[in-house]
Structure formats: C-alpha cells, structure tokens
C-alpha cells in the first residue's frame, strides 16, 4: 500500500511542477497581466528595499569599525577584525550552542504538539469555535507577558510548578543553574508559540484530499499507516513552512530570556549577546558584526531546512 502511495504523490508533484511551463505557451494576455502585476508590486518592493536594505547595509558597514557610542572620536576602521574576534571567542560558540539547543528542542516539541492540536482543530465536531479559540489563546499573548507569567510559575517563592512536580523540593530554584533555567525558558517559548505551529499545520491538513484518505482506508490501511503514508507526505510543504518559520523565529529567541533570566547562568542566546554588545555596552562595531553573523546563520538554517525537506516553495504554492 505504502510504496504505491508515495510514488503517486511524487509523480503528481512533478507533473504539477512541469505543467504550466512546458505545456502551454504564454499568451499575450497573460504576459500583459504579468507585467501589470509586476508594475503594481514595484513601488512596494522599492519601499521594502529602502526600509530593510538600509539598516542591513549600515550594520555591514559599522561591523568593520571599532566603534563605541560613548567614545565617537576613538572610532577606527578595523576591517574584518570584529568578525575574527566573534568567531574565535568561546562565548560566541557557547551562545550559538545554547541557541541551537533552544531551536531544535522547542521546534521539535512544538511540531508534535502543534500537529496534535491541528488534528483536534481539524476533526472536532462540537464546540469548534470555542476549541479553536482556546488553542490559539497563548499565541495572542505578548511574549514578555508570557515570560513573566512563567517566571512567576517557576519561582520557588510564589510559583506553582514546584508543588505540581512530585518529588521536587519546594525550594528548588529553577533559575540558579543552566539546565533548569533553559528548561523553564523553553516551556514558556513552547507554550507561547505552539498555536502558531498548529495554525500553519491546520492549513496543510485542510489541503490533504479526503479521497486519498478514503482510498487508503478502503485498501485496508490502519490509522497509523494513513497518517504516515498519506497525510504527512501530502503535508510536506505545509510542515516545511511551519518548521521554517518557527526555526527562524526560535533561533532569534530573545524576549523570554530577557524577562526570565536576563541571560544569566548560561542561558544567553546569540540575539541576547548581540543586544548586550550593542545596547548595553554601546559597542556598535562588534554588535553589528554579531548581527551580521546572526543574519547569516538564519540564512543558513533556512537553506538547510529547505534542502532537508526537498520541497521547493513554488511547487508548494501551485499545489495549493
């Protein structure tokens, strides 16, 4: 059962991809429409470029200087030395490690829980509105607020977490050591963003054809087989979008760390390191270099995820 389904799904994908480019030649009308479309979005693209390109280029430029905001006269051109400093500093690599850990663990857990939520939202028959809304509530809460809420929850002085976990000392301080502090931050992050994941997955779920599931059922596929061999492969594009969005977001984690530990006990992420250099230390040069590195790592992650899921976004769009 399984191999046939995967093969069919794969072929469909190829056909769809090839379809419009090879089959029909572009008509006069569609060419004119495309041109109109391009002209219509052009002003927006120009504004976007101005707004986003300027700060990016400025950061790139500043990263080549040794420049403290409080000693503007000492500013000097140092070439790539800020990058060398950052890349050869153990603190940078430790923070990168911590950031990757945040990203991998939270996205993995969010994917599983988010999928369960998406299934619930998709299949629920009664009280649909109420259930969907209540699943989405955490996403409507500001991250800083959720950070404070969870900080109170984990606090040994007035929190409830210690008393809810059997066998845990009631005076256990979650924020005194790296591992528990990182767990607390992850819990807040997961609680807050799982609904977003489930929303994206719900959209993917809605696109899986009921006929295919029905056909698999008739062929005798179990529930588990239908999930693994029919639903998930057909949701690959949606899953990729969800994982991509969340991974990029998670890699830039900042708010929860800021609120819950202020980067203490080794919970600092790359974003937080960048913030400290730029905003707290006023070191615009090294801070800019770090933000450029952060940008490059985000690009790298996006590239890796796209490669990993082997789905191209254009095909994903046309399937929908």
């Amino acid at each position: 059962v399984s191999s046939t389904y995967i093969a069919t799904a794969g072929e469909d994908e190829k056909k769809v991809k090839k379809g419009p480019t090879k089959g029909r030649p572009e008509s006069e009308r569609s060419r004119a429409e495309n041109k109109l479309g391009r002209n219509l979005v052009l002003p927006a693209i120009i504004v976007m470029l101005l707004v986003t390109a300027f700060p990016m280029l400025r950061a790139l430029y500043l990263s080549l200087f040794s420049y403290s905001l409080t000693a503007p006269e000492d500013r000097e051109f140092v070439g790539l030395s800020n990058y060398v400093t950052a890349l050869s500093d153990p603190l940078f690599w430790r923070d990168t490690g911590v950031t990757v850990l945040y990203m991998v663990v939270t996205v993995a857990i969010e994917l599983v829980i988010g999928f369960i939520f998406a299934m619930v939202m998709h299949r629920v028959i009664f009280a649909r509105g109420v259930i969907r809304t209540s699943i989405l509530i955490p996403y409507g809460i500001i991250t800083v607020v959720s950070g404070f809420a969870w900080q109170f929850a984990f606090s040994y002085q007035n929190g409830f977490v210690n008393s809810w976990i059997p066998g845990l000392d009631s005076t256990f301080n979650w924020f005194a050591e790296t591992t528990p502090a990182v767990i607390a931050i992850m819990v807040s992050e997961i609680w807050k963003t799982t609904p977003f994941m489930s929303l994206l997955l719900l959209a993917g779920l809605a696109q899986v054809s009921e006929d295919m599931i029905e056909a698999a059922k008739v062929d005798g596929a179990t529930w588990w087989q239908r999930l693994w061999k029919v639903i998930l492969p057909n949701m690959r594009a949606a899953i990729m979008v969800a994982v991509l969005f969340r991974a990029l977001d998670a890699y830039r984690i900042f708010d929860n760390i800021f609120v819950m530990t202020a980067g203490a006990v080794g919970t600092e992420s790359i974003s937080f390191l960048t913030y400290r250099q730029t905003i707290e230390q006023f070191q615009l040069g090294i801070g800019s270099a770090l933000s450029v590195l952060l940008f490059l790592s985000v690009l790298l992650i996006a590239f890796l995820i796209v490669k990993l899921f082997r789905v191209d976004l254009a095909a994903a769009r046309q399937e929908g």
Partner: protein, 442 residues
C-alpha cells in the same frame, strides 16, 4: 409613515456626519493652535530623574520653575543599567527635549566623553565644585579638565554592625578596623559579614573600594580611553582578592554570598548574633521605620552601630564607595541656559536639605549637614561619619568605557567563592585588556 420617517433620518445622518467632520476639524485646528501657542509660551524643561525620592524631586521641580520656564519631571526606569540605556538612546539621537538629567556618578565621564553633556561655563563650574562640595562628590562631575554636572546628593557606604557582636568579639570600633578583623570577629562569635556579591554593579563597588583601600586602582591614565593602563593585576588587586577569598572561605560568609545585594543582608542584622555589613546610607532609615512599625524594638535599634568603611590593609586608610546623583544638562537642549539655571536651583543647599530630610538622600555639600532639620532627623555622629566618608571616598574609575570595565570585572570576579588572589586579578587584567582592544566578547 415610513417615508416621512425615512427622510429626516437621512438628513439627520448627513447632519451627524457633518457634525463629526466639524468636530474633527475643530480638534485638528485646536491641536495646531495649541501647538502654536505652546511654542510661543514659556518652554518646559524635561528633567529625567531616577525613581529615588520622586516626591521631593517633583516639589523641587515646581519650586525651581520660574516665569520663564517650567520644569517637568520625566521618570527613568528603576535599574541603573536601564536608566543609562534610555538616556543614551535619547542623547545618541540628539534629542532636544532632554534638558536635565539625573546621572549616576559613574556614567558622567561616559556621557561627557560622548559629547552629550553641556560643559559648565567656568563661573558656574566654580560654584558647582566649590570648597563646600565634599571632595568625593566633586570628583564625580569632572572629566578631561572640565566640569559636566552638578553634584546633587551623595551616597556612601559605612560599616553597620551590632554593637553587642563587636563587644563580644572584643573589637574596638572607635578605631579603624580591617576587613580581616571584621571577618574573624564575626566568624568567631557566630555572626556574619554582609556584602554585595551578586553579579552586578554593586559587586564592582565592593571590588573597587577594596582595591583603592590597598592603595591601588582598577585603571589609571583613564582619559586614554581604550589605551588606559590596567592596574587590577597589581598587588592592590591581589589584596582585594585576598579579602574576598577570606570572607568566602570563612564561616562569616552569608549563605547567599554569591547572589547577595543591598537588601538581602538587612534581615540578618537582628538574626542570631547579628552581622557586620557594608551598605549605603539608607540602612538607618530602614531600621528606624521598622521600629515605628513595631517590627523592631527601640533596644534593638540602639544596638545598631556604625563605623568607617573597613580597611583593606592595616596601614592604608579606607576609601569608602561613592554613589548618589549628579545633574547634567543635555548638549542638544534648546534651552540650555535655562537648564543650567534650573540645575543650579535643584542642587542648591536648600534643595539638598529637603532631599536629605524627606527622602534620606544625603547632601553633597558640607554646609547642608549642619542644617537644623537634618541634625534633628539623624544622630550627629552618623551625619559626621557620612560626611567624612563622602569626603574621603574613592570613586569608581572614570572612563568612557566604564560600562565595559564594570562588566569585564563582573565576569572575571564572580562568583566571590571562586576568587583566587594568585590568579583572579591577573586574569581579569588580561581579559579587560582584550575586551578594551576588541579582542574578546563580554
């Protein structure tokens, strides 16, 4: 019937739309008019204050407002780091609405060096730092041969202790005591020693006082900025590390030594045998209020003693920490002349007495300590002790890179339990040099 009623409704809708449009126009016009009128009327000076003694500061702002200008209070965040960040953001953007600002003394050099503070004209500078101003406080407002702010109130640390504990230990508190003596006296008699050992600014305050108390300093040639000479690795730095290590290894160390702050050791004064504690001037009012609230007896308060900041080494006088607030005038202010005048007013001896009596924020001017109101509110010997401490105090390094220096020290000297005189001072000197040269991340 229907038609009849429909017509007026349509008309009334039109009328109400018109009314709304008219109202909106009036609001807009009003806004423009009021904007015009406020520009031609007397200007408002914005005074960014930290949230200490806001009530008195507000009344000072009112009293110092004149026919030519009003002073308006703008509140800064509670933490010193956030205050500095917010002011820096405004000033870096050349904010013309930042007229007056309350500055933590350690940031004056940083802000002045960036060109964000108006340098005081010579005559004003002379009065702002005349002989009446206590030396420790006057020292905080100068940078690179200029004066950049007015000392408003001065804070300092003294040694607070339980008289009964000192007596039991046979320690003569009328003479200067050393850290070594204090730690041993506490350890041998079931007492503790309270310090600020968390990874934050006050830990640097302690380290700086210890280093200066041994006759050294963290950096010298401060005006050289990044190229300043780093001296924390010297013998004085080692002496400082010895004190910290001695306390950390002693039974006198409080259980939360590594996360202790100004508030954590307050409660231990009246627990068991009590403690010796270095802390700021607010301590006296703190315990006095507890007596008034009935949480502390009069006898307990009478058992509270105070003495000069302990010496790091026997032969060298101690250099008590200096804190407080200086008032600076923003370099981009459109009303800098008025702002200078206003700054002089809110730092006058009378203003300082008000702050001291109402808020417990001690004056930076010597004469203010003799004010009758103040001598009524505090014991005479305590006032003298504070005044002398501010006068003899040792400020933290004045540098455009102070924030970097402080953070580098925090990351190498924390936790106090890991401080080793043979390695910590030298390691911190190397790290600080690397950070200043841009070779290491903080």
């Amino acid at each position: 019937m229907k038609r009849l009623s429909a017509a007026p409704r349509g008309r009334s809708r039109k009328r109400s739309t018109r009314r709304i449009a008219g109202l909106a126009a009036a609001v807009l016009a009003g806004g423009t008019l009021s904007a015009c009128s406020s520009a031609s009327a007397k200007p408002s000076l914005n005074w960014y204050v930290n949230p200490d003694g806001v009530e008195t500061l507000t009344s000072l702002a009112e009293e110092c407002s004149t026919d030519e200008y009003d002073i308006e209070i703008q509140l800064l965040p509670a933490s010193a780091t956030d205050q500095r960040t917010q002011l820096a953001r405004r000033l870096a953007a050349k904010d013309s609405s930042t007229d007056l600002m309350s500055l933590d003394p350690v940031f004056v050099a940083e802000v002045a060096n960036a060109g964000w503070l108006e340098q005081l004209p010579e005559d004003v500078a002379a009065t702002a730092t005349d002989d009446d101003v206590l030396a420790g406080a006057a020292e905080t407002v100068t940078w690179d041969d200029g004066v950049y702010a007015f000392p408003q109130w001065a804070n300092t640390q003294v040694l607070w202790y339980r008289k009964s504990l000192a007596e039991k230990a046979g320690l003569d508190m009328s003479k200067p005591v050393t850290w070594g003596q204090v730690i041993e006296a506490a350890a041998d008699n079931g007492g503790t020693v309270g310090v600020q050992g968390n990874k934050y600014e006050a830990y640097v305050v302690w380290i700086n006082a210890l280093v200066m108390g041994a006759g050294g300093q963290i950096i010298s040639n401060n005006e050289a900025g990044k190229e300043a000479d780093i001296e924390i690795g010297s013998e004085a730095g080692k002496e400082a590390a010895r004190v910290i290590q001695k306390l950390a290894d002693s039974e006198a160390a409080q259980p939360d030594l590594t996360t202790s702050n100004e508030g954590t050791s307050l409660g231990l004064m009246y627990e068991g045998a009590g403690e010796f504690m270095v802390n700021w001037t607010f301590v006296y009012q703190n315990y006095k209020t507890l007596v008034d609230a009935g949480d502390l007896t009069k006898e307990q308060l009478d058992d509270l003693g105070w003495a000069p900041y302990p010496r790091t080494v026997k032969e060298e006088e101690s250099k008590p920490p200096i804190g407080g607030i200086d008032i600076g005038v923003g370099a981009y202010s459109e009303n800098s002349e008025f702002a200078l005048e206003a700054a002089e007013c809110v730092t006058s001896p009378e203003a300082q007495v008000q702050l001291a009596v109402n808020e417990g924020l001690m004056p930076s001017r010597s004469s203010a300590y003799e004010d009758e109101e103040l001598t009524k509110a505090y014991p005479g010997d305590l006032l003298t002790l504070w005044r002398e401490s501010v006068d003899k105090g040792g400020p933290r390094p004045k540098s455009a890179y102070y924030a970097t220096i402080s953070a580098a020290l925090q990351s190498t000297w924390h936790a106090p339990t890991g401080v080793d005189p043979d390695s910590t001072p030298e390691e911190s000197a190397t790290f600080l040099a690397d950070v200043l040269e841009g070779k290491a991340l903080l």
